[in-house]
């Protein structure tokens, strides 16, 4: 056990966030009322420190060779490092967009930031989990945190209702997930992903109904979290009801975490059963992107529109996972898309926050009329995010979609690729309608005054720069994604635990 302490070094990013979360709680009771603003800074500092730790591990070339920790319950590899970076980005942007909002709406800042950190911690642990029990616990750390976060604006009935819907449905679906895990355990006698994969192969469990049902239920559990149709019902209501910064944070972070875990489970444990799950994901992806995009067109509330849009993007990413046969190209495209989506979606929400008023006001599409005239910068940012979300060049969204298309084509999913293009065409209508409203329509009677918190502007700026960089010079990020994907697909993990 002496090397247990040494193994902790590999978990530096996670530990930093965990310590940060506890520290924020402690600070909340230690600090006097008026210096609560420090909590936002402490949160950002913890996340930045964690990002530095990720960087440190990258520099130590941990990315290329997976390191199994604590008897194989956790694995530190390029995959988890890349995802950690995505979650931390979501966390940092989320903390930045929260600062002013939390003050203005009078939310409990201690709980708020601590829960945000716990949510990030849950995501990061999901990414490093190499075993289903750990994965389930991480999933619940994340879930419980975001349930509370979405209901933290206790003064608003919508927020409470959102939390309740999210909670009841989330607990319901995590029941499926855990039941699936139990059945998989029953079929293979292990919960370690690698060992499950090995057991399937060595014992020929291809037709074992316990295993297949278990796999189906686990897929359902994650499909709920990624908001795939028909498990998407909660998304519009929760995204609309939750406090705006929370929506921004979870729309990107939770989705990325769920995709990271889903892909790792399917690729590592059930790669040999891909013939079973691939067609199912194919269909889910199709339904998700079509329904998400068509329903988004009918929305008049921008939060709700972005909620449906996030469903659609889940469909695109599902297409990437469904392209399993393309191997690391498929997984890499999903990872890259997760990064891109985090930047552009939180960016878009940040602009919604800039435009928004107290008590979730100013969130109708009509509030964006003529924005370009009075606030060219803000409008330019929003236009950039909308263009990126719609997948037009030269933005990051275009490349992200392009890579997924590439993966789908390589996996010979031509029908899905065409559907993806068609679905994006539909999406252009509602994304660019926002651009349209901002640039081509006369402003309404009451000109929107913007809340100009510097942290909010910083978040918009950061997201915009990222969207451009990831669109124009994607090579670096793309290579990282590719390496990350390879650590999972190239069998970087030798079999551990009982075969």
């Amino acid at each position: 056990m002496s090397n247990s302490a040494a193994q902790l070094a590999y978990l530096a990013p996670e530990l930093v966030v965990a310590v940060g979360a506890v520290a924020v709680l402690a600070l909340d009771i230690l600090l006097p009322e008026r210096s609560r603003r420090l909590l936002a800074r402490a949160t950002a500092a913890a996340l930045l420190a964690s990002l530095a730790a990720v960087w440190w591990l990258y520099a130590g070339e941990v990315a290329g060779r997976p390191e199994r920790l604590f008897t194989g319950t956790l694995v530190r590899d390029g995959y988890s490092l890349f995802l950690d970076a995505v979650f931390l980005l979501a966390g940092i942007l989320g903390a930045l967009v929260s600062a002013r909002y939390v003050d203005r709406e009078g939310l409990q800042s201690g709980e708020y930031y601590a829960l945000m950190l716990f949510a990030v911690l849950g995501m990061m642990l999901m990414a490093v989990s190499a075993e289903l029990v750990t994965l389930f616990i991480s999933y619940e750390i994340l879930s419980l945190s975001v349930y509370v976060l979405s209901g933290i604006a206790r003064g608003r009935a919508e927020s409470a209702e959102a939390a309740m819907k999210y909670f009841l449905l989330g607990a319901f679906s995590s029941g499926f997930l855990i039941y699936g895990i139990a059945l998989i355990y029953g079929a293979t006698g292990t919960t370690a992903l690698e060992a499950i994969g090995a057991a399937v192969m060595s014992r020929g469990l291809f037709g074992n109904s316990l295993l297949l049902i278990g796999m189906a239920l686990v897929t359902v559990g994650f499909a709920f979290k990624v908001a795939a149709v028909p498990f998407h019902g909660w998304v519009p209501d929760v995204y609309q009801g939750a406090p705006l910064p929370v929506t921004a944070f979870m729309s990107a972070g939770v989705k990325a975490a769920a995709f990271g875990a889903l892909a790792r489970v399917l690729f590592t444990a059930f790669g040999s059963l891909s013939a079973v799950w691939q067609p199912a994901l194919w269909l889910l992806a199709l339904l998700t992107m079509v329904l998400g995009n068509t329903a988004a067109i009918a929305q008049t509330n921008i939060k709700r529109m972005l909620a449906y849009s996030s469903i659609a993007h889940a469909g695109y990413m599902l297409a990437g996972v469904a392209a399993y046969t393309a191997g690391d190209v498929a997984l890499g495209s999903v990872l890259y898309y997760a990064l891109v989506y985090t930047a552009m979606n939180i960016g878009a929400f940040a602009v919604v926050l800039v435009v928004g008023r107290e008590g979730e006001g100013n969130q109708e599409l009509s509030d964006y009329r003529g924005l370009a005239v009075r606030h060219p910068w803000v409008a330019a940012g929003m236009a950039l995010f909308m263009v990126s979300l719609s997948g037009l060049p030269p933005t990051a969204g275009f490349l992200g979609k392009f890579y997924i298309l590439n993966a789908a084509l390589r996996a010979n999913l031509i029908g899905l690729a065409v559907a993806l293009v068609l679905a994006s065409l539909i999406s252009w209508y509602y994304y660019l309608r926002v651009v349209w409203l901002m640039y081509f329509i006369k402003p309404g009677e009451a000109p929107p005054t913007l809340s100009g918190a510097p942290s909010l502007r910083l978040a918009v700026g950061m997201a915009a720069v990222l969207v451009l960089i990831l669109g124009l010079w994607p090579s670096a990020a793309l290579n990282l994604a590719q390496v990350a994907a390879l650590t999972v697909t190239a069998g970087g993990l030798p079999v551990i635990g009982r075969p």
């Binding site: 449905l169 149709v229 019902g233 199912a280 190209v329 065409v418």
Partner: protein
């Protein structure tokens, strides 16, 4: 000299920097700054383009390709189903074709920027305007310099974006906003074709680089790696993209409405440059089209029919800018006709001269609008030659050039198109040489007629100006007239030096410069049967005769007579006039099929749904999708139990599928 090619990537970058500077800081730094940056960057790009051309002449093989950085490095070695790893670089390709294009874009663009300084001088959105215009220039240059499809698509969407922004520039006007929207939606149809075509191309070739696509096309088809049907499918899909951008049948509807934008924009984007992107794209991938005769024939006949169709509409219009818009559609049809039969040099030649004279005509029309306080209706003009002498003279030059009167620029290029169409034709009877030539000639005749009609109605005829307007009529400032004169000079001289050899049937100067582009690409192709059934000078004489007759008929009807309705052409054409004026009922048909049909479909799909609450533009198919969306989101009852039910149903289906597959 080589140095100019090394730094050719600055050509789009400089206007882009100008766009950023103007967009972000223009409002604060004042008009002088905006004008200096706006015009200066385009001038710099023009200088760089000239340098690049000079350098290119010294390069053996006349082709220079450079990858700046690996934009999209893709694929892991050995993985994937296509054998090849794929990469899309950010890189540029300078060859004679690209050189001609960048010169046209920066040259004409520069003049129009200068003109805009005067024309837009009093507009509130001055800096916004120049930011958009610079951004457009940058995107267009990216489009023509890109060395692969993907990067070209970036430019393709970029020019589209700027086009919508500029059509809707005066968004306070409902009609301008609606026009931008229309352009947007129609172009999406074209983009869909383009994207799918690009995907198929990638599937078939494993690369999107122009040089590789052109080089691989014939070997791959000959080895049976790619079927001819695939090539036909790819080219037809790409052509769908071209019809959108170049406003051809059946997607032409957006261009006339695009005239809602400022006039210099119409000149630059909707006449001289962007709309020719479709022609350029076809020329760029010539080797593909050489393998798909059916696609070529479709392009040629579409172009020819569009040319005729748009010309008939043009002759019924009263809005001078709309006359020019339909004329643009018609001329673009001629270019595509040439591209379809494989006469790329002729197509590019006409693209170039058209940029000169159509740019000139639009700017002159803008000058008229400027003088008349934004009035553009031919019925409210007349006798303007005395009040606007410079505009009159320059417009006159443009008129003669487009009508095809020798030795002006338009004559040479139009004649070359018609001669090549007759000589080359396509293997299909419905697009054979004589058919194409006949339709093209008829369109040319109509062009001569309707342009003369517009010219005489504006500058001769009787004086029909509004009393209040009349008092303020003034010639435009020098920043506007100077570009007019330069373009007039180009319209006179810009054709003969490049195409005079056609007189004797020999290879033209431009041909000698451009032809190698396609010679390399079509290497190994069977020599096209280039037989001239009729000596070229006979055709030229005939074409001149057609133009002159057209002009003379219009002169008889409109020059001296006071204007009255029904006007002479209307009396002659009888019921046809109304038919043409209503755009052959096509827009009505579109409206019935897509807008009303879409709405009906939506009603059917969405069922008894209340109409209130949702502020939704019922815009044809988009509206239909919107209705479907509304219908779908009605399933979003907000009730936890229904969501749980949906989750359970999904779970049961997934489990059932996994377990009992």
């Amino acid at each position: 000299m080589q140095w100019f090619l090394e730094i050719a990537w600055w050509i789009p970058l400089v206007p882009l920097l100008g766009a950023i500077a103007n967009g972000l800081a223009g409002k604060r730094l004042g008009k002088t700054f905006v004008s200096t940056v706006g015009v200066g960057t385009v001038a710099a790009a023009f200088g760089l383009a000239l340098g690049a051309l000079a350098a290119l002449l010294a390069v053996p093989g006349r082709q220079f390709q450079r990858d700046l950085f690996a934009w999209i490095p893709l694929g892991s070695p050995g993985a994937g189903g296509f054998g090849a790893t794929f990469e899309a670089p950010v890189g540029y390709l300078v060859d004679p074709l690209a050189a001609v294009m960048i010169l046209v874009v920066t040259g004409v663009g520069l003049l129009i920027h200068v003109y805009s300084v005067g024309y837009m001088g009093h507009d509130e959105g001055y800096s916004r305007y120049f930011a958009y215009l610079n951004l457009f220039t940058a995107s267009m240059l990216l489009l023509v310099l890109a060395n692969n499809f993907l990067l070209m698509f970036v430019g393709w969407e970029g020019v589209g974006l700027c086009s919508y922004l500029l059509i809707g520039f005066w968004y306070q006007k409902e009609s301008a906003a609606a026009a931008g929207k229309k352009a947007f939606i129609v172009n999406r149809v074209g983009d869909f074709g383009f994207v799918i075509g690009m995907l198929l191309l990638f599937l078939a070739f494993g690369t999107l680089r122009f040089t590789e696509v052109n080089g691989l096309a014939r070997p791959l088809v000959e080895q049976g790696m790619v079927t001819a049907g695939m090539i036909t499918a790819i080219t037809l899909l790409l052509f769908v993209g071209a019809t959108g951008k170049s406003a051809q049948l059946p997607l032409w509807v957006w261009l006339p409405d695009a005239m809602e934008g400022p006039t210099p924009v119409s000149a630059l984007i909707h006449a001289a440059t962007m709309v020719t992107a479709g022609v350029y794209m076809i020329a760029r991938t010539g080797a593909l089209w050489a393998l798909a005769p059916l696609s070529g024939a479709v392009v040629a006949i579409t172009g020819a029919l569009t040319a005729l169709f748009a010309a008939t509409i043009a002759l019924t219009q009263y809005d001078l800018k709309r006359v020019l818009a339909y004329s643009t559609i018609s001329q673009l049809g001629l270019m595509l006709l040439a591209a379809g039969v494989g006469a790329y040099t002729a197509a590019i030649f006409h693209l170039m001269t058209h940029a000169f004279f159509k740019g000139l005509l639009f700017l002159a029309a803008g000058s008229i609008m400027h003088a008349l306080g934004n009035r553009i209706d031919l019925r409210e003009m007349g006798q303007l030659r005395r009040r606007l002498p410079q505009t009159f003279l320059t417009f006159g030059v443009g008129w003669l050039a487009i009508a095809g009167v020798p030795p002006l620029a338009g004559f040479w290029s139009k004649d070359e198109i018609l001669a090549e169409a007759l000589a080359l034709g396509t293997p299909y009877w419905w697009a054979s040489g004589p058919v194409l030539w006949g339709i093209g000639t008829l369109a040319s005749f109509l062009t001569a007629f309707y342009m003369s009609r517009a010219f005489y109605l504006a500058f001769f005829s009787d004086q029909r100006l509004d009393r209040h307007v009349e008092a303020h009529v003034h010639e435009s400032p020098r920043s506007m007239t100077r570009p007019l004169w330069i373009l007039a000079g180009l319209s006179i001289l810009g054709g003969a030096p490049f195409g005079w050899q056609a007189l004797g049937g020999g290879q033209t100067t431009l041909g000698a410069f451009l032809d190698p582009v396609w010679a390399v690409a079509a290497h190994g192709a069977p020599e096209a049967a280039h037989h001239a059934p009729v000596p070229n000078w006979v055709l030229m004489l005939f074409a001149t005769g057609v133009a002159v007759v057209g002009i003379l008929i219009a002169r008889a009807g409109y020059r001296t007579r006071p204007f009255e309705t029904p006007e002479p052409a209307q009396r002659t054409l009888g019921p046809f006039w109304a038919f043409f004026e209503d755009k052959w009922h096509i827009e009505a048909i579109y409206h019935a099929v897509f807008v009303r049909g879409g709405t009906a479909l939506a009603r059917f799909l969405a069922g008894p749904v209340d109409q209130g609450g949702v502020d939704r533009a019922v815009n044809g198919v988009a509206g239909a999708v919107g209705k479907v969306g509304t219908g779908l989101s009605r399933a979003q009852t907000g009730l936890v139990r229904s969501y749980a039910m949906s989750i359970l149903a999904g779970a049961i289906l997934v489990v059932a599928y996994f377990a009992f597959r």
